[in-house]
């Protein structure tokens, strides 16, 4: 993201800042898909790691966002796709200098939950935000088949 765009987003202020760090275009596409439901979001950044990227360069990219958020007094939550993978390694290497939360296994339910609850005033405690997001992420995963539907033998609703 360009300098100017970052600056423009920061002006919104107040909102917890979100960074999504993933392999490839997953994060960017995920945000786009979520915006399909919730509309355009402010103060959300994505970083995609390509196969031939230098990890140090990406780390610097993330650090720049975290630094800016810190300076502006904005709290940050970093979503990563896989526990133990490169986006995770980069994020955790920065926890020493930045007081941010990292959530792994990002999926649509958890991102939607977080984006919705960060808007409302009474949910401004960051621990509560992350707890709710994790819960939504886990609860959004279910295994279903025909027996999950409450049907009679004839295929009608009971």
């Amino acid at each position: 993201m360009s300098k100017m765009k970052i600056r423009a987003n920061m002006k919104e202020g107040g909102l917890v800042s979100i960074v999504i760090v993933t392999h490839g275009d997953f994060g960017r596409a995920l945000l786009k898909s979520v915006e399909f439901i919730l509309g355009k979001q402010k103060n959300v950044f994505t970083i995609g790691i390509k196969q031939d990227d230098n990890i140090e360069v990406l780390k610097a990219k993330l650090e720049k966002i975290l630094e800016r958020n810190k300076r502006e007094g904005n709290e940050t939550i970093v979503f990563v796709d896989l526990f133990g993978a490169s986006p995770f390694n980069i994020t955790l290497s920065l926890l020493k200098n930045y007081d941010v939360k990292c959530l792994t296994g990002v999926n649509m339910p958890m991102l939607i939950q977080l984006l919705m609850s960060r808007e409302s005033r009474e949910n401004c405690d960051i621990n509560k935000l992350t707890e709710e997001a994790c819960k939504a992420g886990i609860e959004g995963i279910k295994e279903l088949d025909i027996s999950s539907l409450k049907l009679t033998k004839e295929g009608e609703i009971k």
Binding site: D52, D53, G84, N89, K96
Partner: protein, 178 residues
């Protein structure tokens, strides 16, 4: 005594490819990262050991400690299968020259960094210094097979193929010196 079952240069160390593709195939009991910088960074060591793939122990050592541990107890018990990871070619060279019995060295992933770096595969970028180190290794340690391969399903590319293709001058210089 443990046995070294795999050795790889990968500047991302433990990451998605290692967890999902390599570790299930190699089935190591231990992933040993040998790196002087990481061995001095307690925080990042903690990140890698905490995020170890299920059932695998992660250890981090500097070159000296690794050589010592190998001499003392061959990295552990008889059933121990050691997967060694290096961040750089120079670290691998140092360890092999220190006497660790590495028979095959997989060059897996080295990101682009700065100028004068040649991209030799989709995920491996090397400068002349890297290439020279690989040449020296094969010259002085004839039984170390060096090959380039990012993912297990891909074809292995030999050291000589890559060096002749991307660093032809280096090859001829070395040959005339011989």
């Amino acid at each position: 005594m443990g046995s070294i079952v795999f050795a790889r240069v990968d500047d991302r160390l433990i990451h998605g490819e290692i967890m999902v593709e390599w570790a299930p195939r190699i089935k190591p009991t231990t992933i040993l990262i040998i790196d002087n910088v990481l061995a001095a960074d307690k925080m990042m060591q903690n990140v890698y050991t905490m995020a170890a793939p299920p059932g695998i122990r992660v250890k981090v050592m500097d070159v000296e400690t690794a050589s010592e541990e190998w001499r003392k107890n061959r990295f552990g018990q008889e059933q121990d299968r050691i997967f060694i990871l290096f961040k750089t070619i120079s670290m691998a060279k140092e360890v092999i020259e220190g006497g660790l019995p590495i028979k095959e060295l997989n060059i897996g992933s080295i990101g682009k960094r700065g100028k004068d770096i040649k991209k030799v595969t989709a995920t491996i970028a090397m400068d002349e210094n890297d290439a020279r180190m690989l040449l020296d290794l094969e010259k002085d340690w004839k039984n170390v097979e060096i090959y380039f391969q990012t993912m297990p399903g891909q074809k292995k590319l030999s050291r000589s193929y890559i060096l002749e293709k991307y660093f032809p001058d280096l090859n001829s210089v070395t040959e005339t010196n011989l």
